[in-house]
């Protein structure tokens, strides 16, 4: 079966899922699916850097956490009517999702640009370690920041608003997240086919080749890393809105690893790889999590099997050769 048809089936499944949840009278499944969609969005962000650019980042939780805290800080100030900054001018909080998203994306972009500018001077295991170190820096900073909850995190009492929608209705928030996921997938698709994507993908395979034709790989990778961070940052803002809670765990290296697991399970460089990975993760968590606290063992076994026997991930198994396999 061609990957194209697998992707169409996945889009149809994601659109139709709320109808299924309502049909089986399990509206909770819509919230669960929203979680999967948001995590898939974070994975799509990582897949731009990892899949096209070959950048194995163990620090993408930084952007997820920054997106989350952008939402938490703006919304918490809005709910207490306490300005974020009051001096020569005033900066107030907001409960508007589009504004929060823009702030989350901008904050993540600045952080990704700075982190990328330093860490992309290294490669291989050093790059992994530097991104991990940045992640830990942000994690411990969030823990030691009492103004926004410190270790306990920060609760937001009401979901933020989107013009024309009631975001508190699960199906409406799901639709909003799904549209953003589709937009991110379209962005990935466009980058991959663009001249920039061609050069980035070639740099992943042979940095020497790209330099030999006059293109500096560093610039390509920095742009890709920044775009990747922006998408993951947006996912963080949505995740915080879904839970109405942010905490330092959003910055944790374990979460960086989880995003990577979504991408690897689904298929590195496969457009819908992170979607399959995230949906499978949530499905396993929901179905096995009730049976055992140690359900991650099964996920680990699955990951092991895929890395050893199916390098193209689940999409590779279904659709055949492509991506990086």
């Amino acid at each position: 079966m061609r990957e194209h048809w697998v992707n169409i089936a996945l889009v149809a499944g994601l659109i139709a899922f709320p109808a299924y949840a309502l049909w089986v009278d399990e509206p909770f499944l819509i919230t669960l699916a929203t979680r999967a969609v948001i995590l898939a969005l974070a994975g799509v962000g990582l897949n731009i850097a990892l899949g096209i650019g070959g950048l194995v980042s163990l620090g993408h939780a930084v952007f997820f956490g920054l997106g989350g805290y952008a939402m938490g800080i703006l919304a918490s100030h809005a709910q207490t009517f306490d300005p974020i900054y009051a001096g020569a001018f005033t900066i107030n909080g907001t409960k508007s999702m589009p504004v929060i998203w823009l702030v989350a994306i901008a904050t993540s972009a600045i952080a990704a640009l700075a982190i990328g500018a330093l860490s992309l001077r290294t490669t291989g295991v050093y790059f992994i370690m530097i991104t991990l170190a940045f992640g830990q820096m942000f994690f411990y900073f969030a823990i030691s920041w009492p103004a926004y909850g410190g270790e306990d995190g920060l609760s937001i009492y009401v979901r933020n608003g989107f013009p024309g929608l009631n975001a508190l209705v699960p199906i409406q928030f799901y639709a909003l997240c799904l549209v953003l996921l589709f937009a991110a997938l379209a962005l990935h698709w466009q980058i991959a086919r663009s001249p920039f994507g061609l050069a980035l993908n070639a740099a992943r395979q042979s940095s020497v080749r790209v330099e030999t034709v006059g293109i500096a790989p560093y610039r390509l990778r920095l742009i890709a890393f920044t775009i990747s961070g922006m998408v993951t940052g947006l996912a963080g803002a949505l995740f915080a809105d879904l839970n109405r809670f942010v905490s330092p765990t959003m910055f944790s290296w374990q979460f960086s690893g989880e995003i990577m697991v979504f991408v690897i399970i689904g298929g590195v460089a496969r457009l819908f790889g992170p979607v399959v990975g995230a949906v499978l993760f949530i499905t396993l968590e929901h179905s096995l999590g009730g049976l055992s606290d140690y359900w991650l063992i099964y996920l680990g076994a699955l990951l092991l099997g895929i890395v050893l026997f199916a390098r193209g991930g689940i999409i590779g198994v279904i659709a055949g050769r492509g991506g990086h396999d």
């Binding site: 001249p195 920039f196 050069a199 070639a202 080749r209 030999t212 293109i215």
Partner: protein, 247 residues
């Protein structure tokens, strides 16, 4: 004849090892200048310094009269230095056409996030023309990993051609090829000299003698002789150091 590429007084030392000892050579318009020498003579080290992957301890590299010694490999490529490698450096999971388009991108194409890299247009035309030039036009949709060794060599040349280089630097383009493959690449290089001169590092002496207008012989990091094929064949020091008495 005008010198297109010059290495002037190149010195490079790795600890106690003197890899390049005051090397001066030039590549003139329309010629193939072969650089030969035994293994470990310092040929690859010199090529790496000319292409910008190693920085010389002393000396200068000039392309079209401009000093490019301080430039990165990417900057040298943009100035018109086309390079092929001993071990193919291609995007192996990409198609032949994608690799050729990559070269065309480096030759002044815009690294845009919009549109398709393979859409019809100047980039694609340039890439297709280079593939046609090396005879790979029917393989455009093939993955590079599925190509034969010889075809990969041809593709390396095609990618370098998309840059419309002022000079080529080719590191053992016949390496690993059979007799037929060597003949094909020899014919291709022979036809390229009119477009841009070639500095050729090669161990296949039949190919070198068939192609080279001039030959420089490098031994222990120093050039011991430069001349035409006949001059090099007749040079007693070269025969003793490299070619052997029956050459």
């Amino acid at each position: 004849m005008t010198s297109v590429l010059q290495a002037v007084g190149i010195c490079k030392r790795f600890g106690a090892l003197e890899a390049s000892r005051d090397i001066t050579l030039d590549l003139r318009a329309g010629e193939i200048h072969a650089l030969i020498g035994p293994n470990g003579a310092g040929k690859s080290t010199l090529i790496q310094q000319i292409a910008g992957w190693l920085t010389p301890d002393a000396g200068r590299v000039l392309l079209g009269g401009a000093d490019i010694t301080a430039l990165t490999p990417a900057q040298r490529a943009r100035k018109g230095l086309g390079r092929t490698f001993q071990i193919s450096a291609l995007a192996m999971q990409d198609t032949v056409l994608q690799n050729a388009v990559l070269g065309a991108l480096g030759a002044g194409g815009k690294l845009s996030l919009f549109g398709s890299a393979l859409a019809p247009g100047p980039l694609r035309d340039r890439a297709e023309a280079a593939l046609l030039r090396v005879g790979l036009q029917d393989q455009r949709a093939a993955r590079v990993s599925d190509l034969s060794h010889g075809q990969r060599r041809q593709l390396e040349v095609a990618v370098a051609l998309t840059l419309s280089p002022k000079a080529f630097v080719m590191d053992e383009p016949m390496a690993g090829l059979g007799a037929e493959g060597s003949r094909d690449i020899t014919a291709l290089l022979d036809s390229l000299r009119a477009e841009a001169p070639i500095l050729l590092v090669e161990h296949d002496m039949d190919a070198v003698f068939a192609l080279a207008d001039r030959i420089s012989v490098l031994v222990y990091g120093a050039i011991i002789a430069t001349g035409t094929v006949a001059e090099i064949r007749a040079d007693p020091e070269v025969r003793r150091a490299y070619l052997g008495e029956e050459a």
